[in-house]
């Protein structure tokens, strides 16, 4: 049972590293939000659940932390994305489609 917990914690730690690497590597704000939110939510969930499996007396508190992160992290990243869009941060040069601009043009017409 402890081996399962160690493996799950390792998957979580690897995903946390990859999410932070994506923050450094990707070209613009919206791509960085995607990497930062998805990978760190997954990584924190798995790390916390893995520690809870290794140490069974702590399982319910660890599950509480994991569910709290799972609920609040998408909300805060959505708020930051909306703020970035409203404060006029543009997409990167290699972007293919900008659907909010198309929607605003359709609203004006």
């Amino acid at each position: 049972m402890e081996l399962v917990g160690v493996i799950i914690t390792g998957i979580g730690a690897l995903f946390l590293f990859l999410g932070n690497f994506g923050i450094l590597r990707l070209p613009d704000v919206y791509n960085r939000i995607q990497a930062g939110t998805k990978c760190t939510t997954f990584g924190t969930f798995f790390t916390t659940i893995g520690i809870g499996i290794i140490q069974p007396e702590w399982f319910w508190k660890c599950l509480l932390i994991a569910i709290f992160v799972l609920v609040t992290n998408p909300i805060s990243s959505h708020a930051i994305a909306r703020a970035a869009k409203k404060s006029g941060v543009s997409l990167c040069d290699r972007s293919v489609v900008d659907q909010t601009k198309e929607f605003e043009e359709k609203e004006e017409a």
Partner: protein, 86 residues
């Protein structure tokens, strides 16, 4: 869970935090820095849970829960400020 595995996991997580810190210093706009801070706080929640196991202190789990709550509230405040709200 022996010491080598714990050192590998902690170095992965702390190395990731250092990469995000580089982005927080470089970041061209304010939104970049806010995203980097969001990622760093979520990573530190996981780091505190692992440290609670390493030092065998139950109270670190409570600290981790309060830390995630405060980071959520703080980032919502930063987002409202960047929108031009308040």
């Amino acid at each position: 869970m022996n010491e080598t595995i714990i050192i590998i996991y902690l170095s992965l997580i702390v190395g990731g935090i250092l990469l995000s810190l580089i982005r927080m210093f470089l970041g061209p706009t304010a939104a970049d820095r806010a995203v980097a801070v969001d990622t760093i706080t979520t990573t530190i929640v996981a780091l505190l849970v692992i440290l609670a196991f390493v030092f065998d202190r139950y109270i670190y789990l409570d600290a981790s829960l309060v830390y995630s709550l405060l980071s959520f509230v703080g980032l919502c405040a930063i987002a409202r400020f960047m929108e031009g709200g308040f």
